[in-house]
């Protein structure tokens, strides 16, 4: 049971400290891919730790049925007091009930997440399909569709097939170099499957909104994905061109404030990192710190697996 407690403590630490640390590390967008990896590992490790702790707890309850008071006295001093004497069976039932309810809660969470992801997928694919039917193919740019609309919009949408949509107003606002940069940015989103990442993290944030690791993680991962796409576009067309394209499409008063998700956040950050890339020292230090943030959950998991493998899983081993 002590491993289960450790797993829960680990999850608690990541949930509390994770967002504080990671937001600071990934704010500047020095190595956006590494940043996304760090966030993903932190986010994924928490439900895994919960599930593992739950599994361990249930296994131990089943194995130690009838001998639970000794198990508790051996491992967790606090609960040992409650398990003393004739309260044994009551505590047993209570703990089993707790484990069952936790399992149910986890199942409900996963079910709602799966439903949210399913809805997101079908809505997105339907939008892509409608854009293909209603939009006009852009000459000479495979997979790009033009929609007649006064708002200056350019976006990528996953579907069968994946599509980049740009409005007539946006086309008018961009010169050829800027247009190439915008399309390169959007295609980078599709090639990098960012929609899957954003859908998964946003779904998790919707299903468990009280956990800032998930909500901050969803927002930060979306921001970092924009920066990854900016880097791809800048490699092919130059950072200044990407910046001028950003400026050409911003400031459209028709767009509702705060809409369009990540594309609204961190525009100033995106422009700043394109115009002033970090120096060698700053960049190396940031990469180092992010690499540590990536390694921490991996090493933690490896340590716990090693501990479990060497039989240190439960005090129940003493009873056998």
């Amino acid at each position: 049971m002590s491993l289960a407690v450790c797993l829960l403590l680990y999850a608690f630490v990541i949930v509390v400290i994770g967002p504080l640390l990671l937001v600071r590390l990934t704010r500047g967008g020095v190595a956006p891919r590494l940043g996304i990896l760090a966030w993903c590992l932190a986010i994924v490790s928490v439900p895994l730790a919960w599930a593992a702790a739950l599994g361990l707890l249930i296994t131990e309850l089943v194995h130690a049925w009838g001998q639970l008071d000794r198990l508790l006295a051996g491992c967790v001093a606090l609960l040992g007091a409650a398990a003393a004497g004739g309260r044994g069976p009551l505590v047993q039932t209570g703990l089993l009930l707790l484990a069952t309810l936790s399992g149910l809660a986890l199942a409900v969470l996963l079910g709602r997440l799966a439903a949210a992801l399913g809805r997101a997928r079908s809505t997105t694919f339907r939008h892509a399909d409608a854009a293909r039917i209603v939009g006009a193919p852009h000459h000479g740019l495979g997979g790009t569709l033009v929609i007649d609309a006064p708002e200056r919009l350019a976006y990528a949408v996953a579907g069968r097939p994946h599509t980049v949509v740009i409005t007539r107003a946006a086309l008018t606002a961009l010169d050829p170099a800027q247009l190439d940069a915008v399309l390169a940015h959007e295609h980078a989103h599709l090639t990098g499957r960012h929609h899957l990442l954003v859908a998964a993290t946003t779904g998790l944030a919707t299903v468990a909104p009280r956990i800032s690791l998930f909500t901050a993680g969803a927002a930060e991962i979306a921001r970092l994905a924009e920066m990854c796409a900016d880097d791809t576009a800048a490699r092919g067309h130059g950072g200044r061109t990407v910046v001028s394209a950003i400026l050409a499409l911003t400031g459209d008063a028709r767009l509702p404030s705060g809409a369009l998700g990540a594309a609204t956040l961190g525009i100033a950050d995106r422009v700043e990192r394109l115009l002033f890339p970090p120096g060698l020292l700053h960049g190396t230090l940031a990469r180092l710190a992010l690499s540590l943030a990536v390694l921490a959950p991996i090493l933690g998991a490896a340590a716990m697996i090693a501990w479990a493998a060497t039989g240190g899983v439960s005090c129940g081993a003493v009873l056998v």
Binding site: A116, R119, A120, T123, T124, R126, H127, D129, A130, A131, R132, I133, V134, A136, I147, D148, A149, E151, L153, A154, Y155, A156, V157, A158, R160, P161, V165, T167, V182, H185, E186, H189, H195, V198, A199, T202, A225, E226, A229, A245, I246, L249, T250, D252, L255, P256, S257, G258, A259, L260, G261, A262, A263, T264, L265, I267, A268, V271, L275, F276
Partner: protein, 122 residues
């Protein structure tokens, strides 16, 4: 991916051009003048569009007469509503290039651009 999907925009364009109404025979007659196409292909495409909600239909003798549910402009506007997130129920995952900035973002952006024009690095 070759398939009926490729023809959907072509077929609906024909129907919009014909005041939003037509039968499979009418659309086929117009299309086969410009391209090598089978009657059944046109029929399947129109069926798909009907299934997806772009067309309604009424029996006319032994065939159906199809009607577009909205004009081209109306469909574009609906897409934009979803793209702009104005549709509360929409959960589509779209990766926009830029959005609308808040006043704080705008101030920050001006500061960044000001640094650039002064040729100074932070």
């Amino acid at each position: 991916m070759r398939g009926f999907g490729e023809l959907e925009p072509v077929v609906i364009e024909r129907l919009w051009a014909a005041c939003g109404t037509g039968t499979v025979r009418e659309v086929f007659d117009q299309l086969c003048a410009h391209r090598d196409i089978a009657y059944t292909t046109v029929q399947s495409t129109i069926d798909n569009l009907h299934r997806k909600g772009f067309l309604t239909r009424k029996r006319e003798g032994r065939a159906y007469r199809y009607q577009t549910t909205a004009s081209h402009a109306e469909h574009s506007a609906t897409l934009m509503v979803e793209a702009l997130n104005r549709d509360e129920d929409s959960e589509a995952v779209l990766s926009h290039f830029v959005g609308h900035m808040s006043d704080e973002e705008l101030t920050r952006l001006h500061a960044v651009l000001g640094q650039q024009s002064r040729g100074r690095r932070r």
